[in-house]
């Protein structure tokens, strides 16, 4: 799958030849116990983590073939195992650099190493919380679930001799990562309950915006199906009996489902927008999405003032509404979702859109006096 040969460059080769590549990575791998290190050393962890991110994101094939994968995952398991109290307070124990690394990795490395629930360490992604969380954590999830950027057909900067890009397997891994993450909740709907809760809490505006970004990322995600059968080449085959599996092998749909804790029906949604229409997401998401903005402070200086956090949140929600509507319409046309079944929802969205940003006024909290907008 990841057979692209553009996985080295002269610059990387230079650093590898001089031992600087390994030494830099070692700085980050050894950053696990800050107490042991001098102050000078700890200052290097951030830049070293940036190097690891750059390496993994620019040279995914090289990364996946290297001996770095396993120690990297072990390091992430350790650094992300912090209590929910720490997450909630955004304490300095939250490993911001390691979150960056997670979304720089080829997504295939984030897929379960073992069956979920059998050991706590199936994938570092599962250690990222959605309930007591930070904006960076939510953005990391957004980027992973979004999938790879679609290649622009007008991008003339693409080198002509580049081989098949790893976009397909990445898109498939993004979808798998989403369902893996969803399945880690006792009830799938918890995830959306928490997200909507964040999105509604204007007091913590950064988390609210991040939660909405996550929902939008799923809406517009670039996903692809997992392979339906194992490849003929033994090397490329995913083999759950031998953990850790070779990180370049994607599981088939059946194999993947067998790793998840609950009964996995054949025909999991293929696209993000379809996933949002499922019973896990639907009952939490749409009542919130269709509700007009609520404003609580009656002594605000300027309605619609750019700096007003309530306005910012309402504005982001409006964008999300529009994005979802666009995507749903497209999905109904292409058959990704059942057009008949979703007709009512589409109409409800359109009614809300016609009302305009502020809503129809009758559904306000009652504190707003209706005035003529000049």
């Amino acid at each position: 799958m990841y057979k692209s040969s553009r996985d080295v460059s002269i610059s990387l080769e230079y650093l590898q030849a001089r031992g600087l590549h390994d030494r830099t990575i070692a700085v980050w791998l050894n950053s696990g116990e800050p107490a042991r290190h001098s102050l000078d050393r700890t200052a290097l962890f951030g830049p070293a983590a940036k190097y690891v991110s750059s390496f993994a994101s620019n040279y995914p094939c090289s990364f996946l073939k290297s001996a770095l994968v396993r120690p990297l995952l072990l390091h992430l398991f350790k650094s992300l195992s912090i209590s929910s109290g720490h997450w909630a307070q955004s304490s300095n124990k939250v490993p911001v650099y390691d979150l960056n690394i997670i979304h720089s990795l080829p997504r295939i490395a984030l897929l379960p190493q073992t069956q979920i629930g059998v050991t706590p360490y199936a994938s570092p992604l599962l250690l990222i919380p959605v309930r007591n969380t930070t904006p960076e954590a939510l953005y990391t999830l957004s980027k992973v679930f979004q999938g790879p950027a679609k290649p622009q057909s007008e991008d003339y900067s693409i080198i002509p001799d580049v081989e098949a890009s790893p976009e397909q397997p990445e898109a498939a891994a993004a979808r798998a990562a989403y369902f893996m993450y969803l399945s880690s909740f006792t009830h799938g709907s918890e995830m959306y309950a928490y997200l909507v809760g964040h999105a509604d809490t204007t007091a913590l505006i950064d988390t609210a915006l991040a939660a909405m970004q996550l929902i939008e990322s799923v809406t517009t995600a670039n996903w692809a199906p997992l392979p339906s059968e194992s490849p003929s080449n033994q090397e490329d085959r995913y083999d759950p009996a031998h953990a850790p599996r070779r990180p370049t092998a994607l599981p088939t749909e059946t194999q993947f489902c067998s790793l998840l804790p609950w009964q996995c029906n054949v025909g999991k949604p293929q696209t993000g927008v379809a996933a949002l229409l499922q019973p896990e997401a639907r009952p939490k998401l749409f009542p919130w999405l269709l509700a007009p903005p609520r404003f609580f402070s009656s002594h605000r200086r300027g309605r619609g003032d750019d700096d007003d956090p309530e306005y910012k949140v309402a504005s982001r929600k409006w964008q999300l509404l529009q994005a979802f509507h666009r995507r749903l319409k497209e999905a109904m046309r292409t058959g990704e979702v059942d057009a008949q079944e979703e007709r009512k929802l589409l109409e409800a969205l359109e009614v809300r859109l016609r009302e305009g940003f502020w809503g129809s006024g009758t559904s306000s909290t009652g504190r707003e006096v209706a005035t003529l907008e000049s």
Binding site: R6, V8, S9, L15, A43, L44
Partner: protein, 312 residues
């Protein structure tokens, strides 16, 4: 306070007033700069000067004379006007101005208020291959540019100097490639295809040697201030090195003057300029800030230079 009537004025009258004032500045000591007069000319009349007349050149000369005689006063209004007037001129035209103020003077790090103007002039050279070659053939000007880039304490000037160097090097390469394609393999014209700016920067012992010596911690000024300035210069070098690596990896990674490089601990059989930056500029275990910059440099290097190796 004189009430301004320039907005309705006659350009010729305005010119007379300006000329008179500039002459006074140049010849009568103790004359103070009439900021308002100069600014108003700069805004209302300078953009509309007819290029068929010799007015532009005359004012530029007068401005230069006035600037030379200006002692403790702030030269900014005159420099601004000079900048406006020279804006539409090409590099060649700038060189041909009979101005007593040389490019090297403008680029001197102590002449802070003139640096940006001087850099603006050099930037114009990037527009044609001939101009770049012309500039490259003036070692003292290139040396002044490199010195300003590494030693100035003003971050804005350093950024601009870095951009100018980047542009000159980029254009030098691009334009020479274009010429090579157009002309073909004509040996007569092959000299036109050479990247003279690159040769000046890396082939000139004085300039290359200066870069090594100023950026190396060896024999450095042991005061805190001296060390900080070094770290800043090293960071500037690393930034430009990224661009150089993207344009010509071989130039960045190979050795240019083995005898000089040996002084900084480089092994002549295998080390090159990049090794100086990466291993020999810094005293390891000493300056962790520099280590941070280096690690950032490595990350940027592999992100920006994705060229595949040609060997194997």
């Amino acid at each position: 306070m004189q009430v301004s009537n320039f907005t309705d004025g006659n350009p010729d009258d305005a010119y007379q007033r300006l000329s008179h004032h500039l002459q006074a500045l140049a010849t009568i000591p103790g004359t103070s700069v009439d900021q308002r007069l100069i600014q108003e000319y700069s805004i209302f009349y300078a953009p509309a000067i007819d290029d068929k007349s010799s007015r532009r050149g005359l004012i530029i000369n007068q401005l230069s004379e006035a600037l030379l005689r200006l002692q403790d006063q702030d030269p900014s209004p005159l420099v601004d006007l000079l900048s406006k007037l020279t804006g539409p001129l090409s590099f060649r035209q700038i060189l041909s101005l009979e101005s007593p103020v040389s490019l090297e003077t403008l680029l001197d790090p102590s002449a802070e208020k003139y640096n940006l103007l001087g850099l603006g002039f050099l930037e114009k050279a990037a527009e044609s291959h001939c101009d770049i070659a012309n500039l490259a053939s003036r070692p003292s000007v290139v040396m002044a540019l490199v010195t300003l880039w590494l030693t100035t304490v003003d971050a804005g000037v350093a950024t601009k100097a870095s951009k100018v160097l980047d542009r000159l090097l980029t254009q030098d390469k691009e334009l020479s490639l274009l010429t090579a394609r157009r002309i073909g393999d004509d040996s007569l014209s092959r000299s036109r295809c050479q990247t003279l700016m690159w040769r000046r920067l890396f082939g000139d012992k004085d300039i290359y040697g200066f870069i090594l010596s100023y950026c190396s911690l060896q024999g450095h000024d042991k005061t805190q201030g001296g060390r900080t300035q070094k770290t800043v210069a090293q960071a500037r070098l690393m930034e430009l090195a990224l661009r150089i690596g993207g344009l010509d990896w071989s130039c960045l990674s190979r050795s240019h003057h083995a005898a000089l490089e040996k002084n900084y601990g480089l092994d002549p059989t295998q080390d090159g300029f990049l090794d100086f930056i990466v291993s020999h500029m810094v005293e390891s275990n000493d300056d962790f800030l520099m280590h941070m910059s280096l690690l950032h440099f490595f990350a940027d290097l592999i992100s920006n230079v994705k060229e595949r190796s040609r060997q194997k």
